[in-house]
Symmetry: C2
Subunit: 234 residues, 2 copies
């Protein structure tokens, strides 16, 4: 079944934009009467039928809607420093969307090699993974923010920071948090967080996290956190 992302859907009919319409008619070659699925990114999963195959504006009639489609039993927010090579963050976003994530913030820390990111492009990566993996909820990508500014935002739930400084007091995720929680987890840049940054977090009530003995790249560490939290909650 073909799936379209329709965040602005409100009525029991919907018209695909020009790009999606062209894709629907010229590429997928779907005729009038074909059934398709729509997701609004807010938890609703629709079954719809094509009522007009105008290649500039395909009309759809909604037949069925499921709300809170595959609603998750926890909330995961990962704040990660963007990698020098942005492809690595792009694949993290794709994989995290497949595995399950709710919110992502790119934080610019002292040792971040990259300080500018194109959120539009990264959002396209997420949307494409949402469609490919059939998710009714679209993960939220926040604008990039400095570490210090991010640390001033109040946060509910469990707060963890993964860093490579000495292991003292670090523990595994499964020993630090419980299932069905709300989690914020910080992942540092290639050169790791500075000890000042780590101390700021610890003073704000973040707990120090270990991901084991492997030396992981930033994006691999972030994905491994995503895996562990979903594993803990399944």
């Amino acid at each position: 079944m073909h799936i379209f992302y329709t965040p602005d859907i409100t009525q029991n009919t919907y018209t695909l934009n020009e790009e999606e319409s062209k894709h629907c008619v010229r590429v997928l070659r779907l005729p009038v009467g074909s059934l398709v699925n729509l997701v609004d990114g807010k938890g609703s999963f629709y079954t719809a039928q094509i009522t007009s195959d105008n290649p500039k504006k395909v009309s759809l009639s909604i037949l069925k809607v499921e709300t809170e489609f595959q609603k998750r039993n926890h909330y995961l927010h990962i704040a990660v420093a963007p990698t020098k090579n942005i492809d690595r963050i792009e694949w993290f976003l794709e994989k995290a969307t497949e595995l399950g994530i709710d919110e992502i913030t790119l934080i610019i820390s002292d040792r971040s090699e990259r300080r500018i990111v194109k959120e539009d492009r990264l959002n396209k990566v997420i949307t494409s993974a949402v469609k490919q993996s059939i998710k009714a909820y679209h993960p939220k990508l926040n604008d990039a923010i400095s570490y210090d500014a991010f640390m001033k935002i109040p946060v509910e739930g469990d707060k963890l920071i993964a860093h490579c400084n000495d292991n003292e007091g670090k523990d595994y995720i499964s020993n630090l948090v419980k299932p069905n929680g709300k989690y914020l987890i910080l992942i540092g840049p290639e050169g790791d967080f500075t000890s000042d940054e780590v101390n700021i977090a610890l003073n704000k009530g973040f707990k120090a996290l270990t991901l084991g003995d492997n030396r992981l790249r930033t994006e691999t560490a972030a994905l491994s956190v995503c895996f562990e939290i979903n594993h803990l909650n399944r």
Copy 2:
């Protein structure tokens, strides 16, 4: 500390090949007397000193060797169908090497869209991840093989197959295997294994595996198996 991959090391001295020598002298600009690390891919981790900085053949003198460096407590062999877009398998190999894997086989199944792979190129990806993540053991990449031929090879240890056909009788890895084991896990192509292929495996004693409700791409499924086995064994 800079690390070099030296699979053919035998003596207490070693000469880097022309490419590595050039990298060492012209790029890293390491002078005589500098300390470097070497890994042989078979478990030995060396500390060595540069005794000649000839940019065509750098000579090294071994100062120290640690055998069975970070030896793993289990053996993981993943057999996965190569993806249509080979970049996806390349990143799987990089990430699996970072997280910990021992052996990989690319299996050509009925629905594999890609039937030819360049093992040399894929091995370069693995070697680069071995160096980046400081692994003394180099994961073994077997030549691509047809599903039927692969199924004729006798295997010790736990045998699991991940497929998307009906869920009956499937279970999570953690319920199917114990820690410190030897595991072979099959991951199907984009279009999944055929039911004949699944049945062949089940008749050979493979157990059916579920990775949860998420719809995962081939390479994401393979990586999540890698996460889960390493998680179980840590």
